[in-house]
């Protein structure tokens, strides 16, 4: 059966037509504290004739009771604390009955104390209005909210320059604010649909143009809303169906979940990641009270469905279901751009839990690469991400995860971080510089049985006079791995050891001639070397490997192949030292942009966490390093 990604499927079940039912557009109102967001919402509701009977009088009474002029914000600011302090604490929603379609307006708080509530509101929106006070101009939260909209995936944005009455409807002042916000948004890749001058309190330019600002020729706020569209369906992307639960209420074993992207049909062959098990869809189950009801044959993104399989394979919550082609990435390490909302800062090295779709996994923060100042987009370095900051980090998990780069598949490319009991941050995934490890862990051969050797390892060791094993050298290019490896081999050989070097460039001439330098090929390069080294070691030899091997996941796999005879040797040297040595002139080329993905420059080097040996070639001479290693071998490989 062909994959339904490439096959033309029957259209999804025609949903029953419901007369008079309109589409729904969700708009969030964001911006700095007190710039008039809630006022704008109140006024929009009023101008679109959506205010319920008696509401105007109620707001008037609330305002009078507090000795204030009429306060439109009280429509949304429902808490007593919000009304008394004139500040929005939590996000709220209201429905507008507009012509053509319905609109939900989501009011978000502007105070930075309540950023978690702004995120809660904005994450539900199709589009956003960024409100800026004409008098105060662009402020800290105007920028941060703009930046977060982008991270949250809200791509349709318009800017509302409010309180034009305070600047006497001055065109020059408006243009000044417009220029500043356009420049900022432009630098993060956001182009506002329009920048609209308004006075929310007085209703200028909300529904129609205003006589007070004849110089403004663009659309009003209401007209701008009609230009936005509900977020398009994701049914044309490759299938992503995270398993939510497995039910056995009756004779059926139903795998339940929501299709996040793509579509599935009865008969499709599915693969479950990261377990990599495979089965076909037997049926798509559904319940209806109506007689003559049939189960659907196909289902699309957005639907909550249940399927049964032709084979009873073990499936659990958190698995991601896809077709065989276009399966998600499998990895135990990835990059992310995150925002942090936690009371405690996010710490480098800290242990947390991530949730992606229905999957939960323990993680550790391997690296905080940079903090991004959302004010001027400067990169700062720190070992902690403070509350309300945005950062780029590297996350590691103990077990294999199935996920996607955000740009490939948005729903399975985003996740949240849980700190103790609380959701404390969210992020989007990038796999830049990191390999999809799916191929590395896929076993294609079947019906294979191991042959038992008749010679026990101890017998080989006795004949050689020493144990077999792997001395795995890792370090930056120019750290001195090859120099040390060659000298070490020579010294051990002279002492009567059975020893051999596997060197990076050498294996790429033969065994690995078919591999390039993409993250996936590099990982495969190391996988093969790890397997070969393990065979050497089992034959009784000492094998010295000399590869940059920058990824922890790859080295861990090599360690697993050789098991307890693996010795990780970290050939340490600062990047600057290696770059100044530059024996092959590679750093120069990398700096000039002639080599892509060069470790240390444009690709990561993940230093070992618990190497068996460390030699520092900046602090000691090559011979001193070799002395230390010979001593280590004599001690460790003795029978």
């Amino acid at each position: 059966m062909a994959d339904s990604v490439v096959k033309l499927t029957t259209p999804p079940q025609a949903t029953q037509h419901v007369p008079g039912m309109k589409d729904l557009l969700r708009i969030v109102i964001v911006g700095h504290v007190d710039h008039g967001k809630s006022t704008l919402v109140g006024r929009l509701v009023y101008e679109t004739d959506s205010l319920p009977e008696g509401k105007f009088e109620q707001i008037k009474a609330m305002s009078d009771r507090r000795g204030m002029p009429f306060e439109w914000a009280f429509l949304m600011d429902a808490m007593q604390a919000e009304r008394d302090q004139g500040i929005t604490i939590d996000t709220a929603q209201i429905w507008l009955k507009t012509k053509g379609r319905d609109t939900v307006i989501i009011d978000a708080p502007g105070h930075k104390e309540f950023l978690k509530n702004m995120v809660t509101g904005a994450s539900q929106a199709d589009a956003a209005l960024l409100v800026i006070d004409a008098d105060e101009g662009v402020k800290e939260q105007s920028r941060r909210h703009g930046y977060l909209l982008h991270l949250l995936g809200v791509r349709q944005v318009a800017v509302v320059v409010n309180k034009m009455d305070l600047v006497k409807y001055d065109a020059a002042r408006f243009q000044e604010v417009e220029r500043e916000i356009r420049t900022y948004l432009g630098s993060i890749g956001v182009t506002p649909a329009h920048v609209i001058p308004v006075s929310a309190r007085d209703g200028d330019c909300i529904k129609e143009g205003s006589a007070k600002m004849p110089w403004y020729k663009g659309p009003s706020v209401v007209q701008t809303l009609s230009l936005f569209n509900p977020i398009a369906s994701l049914s044309d992307l490759p299938l992503r169906f995270p398993v939510q639960d497995v039910y056995k209420f009756d004779e059926r074993r139903i795998i339940a979940g929501r299709i996040e992207c793509g579509r599935l049909s009865v008969g499709d062959t599915l693969i479950f990641s990261p377990s990599n098990k495979s089965a076909k869809i037997k049926s798509i189950e559904s319940w209806s009270s109506k007689p003559g009801h049939h189960n659907p044959l196909t289902a699309v993104a957005g639907q909550s469905v249940g399927i049964t399989l032709d084979e009873q394979i073990f499936v659990e919550r958190g698995d991601i279901v896809s077709h065989l082609q276009h399966a998600p990435v499998e990895t135990d390490v990835f990059r992310a751009r995150i925002f942090w909302l936690g009371r405690e800062p996010l710490k480098k090295g800290g242990a947390y839990k991530m949730k992606l779709g229905t999957m939960e996994a323990p993680i550790r923060i391997q690296e905080i690469e940079r903090i991004i100042d959302t004010g001027d987009l400067r990169a700062l370095s720190s070992d902690e991400v403070e509350r309300n900051q945005v950062a780029e980090i590297v996350i590691r998990s103990r077990r294999m995860l199935a996920l996607d780069a955000f740009n490939d598949s948005p729903r399975t490319g985003r996740f949240v971080i849980v700190d103790k009991f609380d959701i404390a941050g969210g992020g989007i995934i990038s796999m830049e510089g990191y390999a999809d490890q799916r191929e590395l862990i896929t076993q294609r051969s079947t019906n294979i049985t191991r042959v038992e050797h008749a010679i026990p390892p101890e017998e080989r060791w006795r004949r050689n006079g020493h144990k077999g094993g792997v001395m795995w050298m890792t370090g930056l290019s120019g750290a001195g791995k090859s120099t040390i490896a060659v000298k070490l081999e020579q010294r051990l050989f002279e002492k009567g050891y059975h020893v051999y070097i596997l060197d990076g460039d050498n294996v790429r001439h033969g065994l690995n001639a078919n591999l390039g330098f993409s993250p996936e090929d590099r990982a495969e390069n190391i996988r093969r070397v790890g397997e070969v080294a393990a065979l050497f070691a089992r034959s009784g030899m000492i094998v010295i490997t000399s590869f940059i091997s920058p990824y922890r996941s790859d080295r861990d796999r090599a360690r697993a192949a050789a098991s307890d005879v693996f010795h990780e040797v970290y050939v340490a040297a600062e990047l600057a030292t290696c770059e100044s040595r530059d024996p092959k002139g590679l750093y120069k080329k990398a700096r000039a942009g002639q080599i892509a993905d060069f470790t240390g420059i444009s690709a990561p080097y993940e230093a070992p966490e618990e190497p068996e040996v460390v030699v520092d070639t900046a602090a000691a001479s090559a011979d001193e390093c070799v002395d230390a290693l010979v001593e280590y071998v004599e001690r460790t490989f003795r029978i």
Binding site: M21, D23, A78, M79, A92, K116, V418, F421
Partner: protein
């Protein structure tokens, strides 16, 4: 997918999420239109089954039609019913305005039931468009040991990731219908042919738009005798759905106080 399909799929997702993540869970079944939609969605989510008890907080003040409806569908749908009576009025905070005080009996009944049956989670069929404090609710809304709602400091909730990790002593309200409007509910009832208490349909020029207890819920003037009529009426109405609920209007903060204390 149209708007009803989207709402249905989202609610089913929430029901399944709560059923998976929360140990002991029950659904509030007020017998009104919204909670019947919620029960209907349960049967869709779990392929015809209702895998948790439905809880009716019985004040003894429901209309006779409401009790008849309950008894019939408990049998027809195979409902596991919890129908303990709510504590009497004289046990309720007497500083509350009179209608709120009647309503607060439900809060007290809920607290007792949670205690008695040791529930970790409760489904409630509230909607954001009903009332401005409900508009601020989360889908998964934590309550402390006393059942109170800390509405000034709610957890962030985004990308359909809900707060499902709690220290002991917390329980959680789950709101699968938060995003539905009154019109969505009626259109869904129409499409799915969901049975309702007949009091929603006009008789002698009156009908109930929102159904609560005798004495604190009042009918509206209406000739809408069918679902089609009701939908037509709602499309043009400018009155609020809960205008007939006395407790919402006793003072500016009456509903906030009720909800902070654990009312639905």
């Amino acid at each position: 997918m149209n708007r009803l399909d989207q709402l249905e799929a989202q609610s089913i997702y929430i029901l399944r999420e709560a059923f998976n993540r929360i140990d002991k869970i029950a659904m509030l079944w007020s017998l009104g239109k919204d909670s019947n939609v919620m029960v209907w969605l349960t049967r869709k989510a779990f392929f015809g089954h209702i895998p948790y008890p439905l809880m009716h907080l019985d004040t003894g003040l429901e209309f006779p039609e409401t009790y008849a409806f309950r008894d019939r569908y408990v049998k027809e749908w195979g409902v596991k019913l919890i129908g303990d009576p709510c504590p009497p009025l004289d046990t309720i905070d007497d500083t509350l305005p009179p209608a709120s005080r009647v309503a607060a009996r439900k809060t007290a009944g809920l607290k007792e039931a949670i205690e008695k049956y040791q529930f970790d989670g409760i489904f409630a069929g509230i909607r954001r468009d009903e009332q401005s404090m409900r508009a601020k609710e989360r889908v998964f809304s934590p309550r402390n040991a006393e059942g109170t709602w800390d509405f000034r400091d709610q957890p962030p909730e985004f990308w359909d990731q809900y707060k499902t990790d709690y220290p002991a002593g917390t329980h959680i309200r789950i709101h699968p219908l938060l995003q539905w409007t009154e019109l969505d509910i009626w259109r869904y009832i129409q499409r799915e042919e969901i049975p309702l208490v007949p009091l929603y349909f006009a008789k002698n020029g009156e009908r109930f738009r929102s159904l609560g207890e005798i004495g604190i819920t009042f009918p509206i003037k209406s000739n809408a005798a069918t679902i089609e009529d009701i939908i037509a009426e709602l499309e043009v109405t400018r009155t609020e759905e809960r205008a007939g609920r006395a407790m919402d209007h006793e003072s500016e903060d009456a509903f906030e106080r009720l909800r902070a204390d654990g009312y639905m």
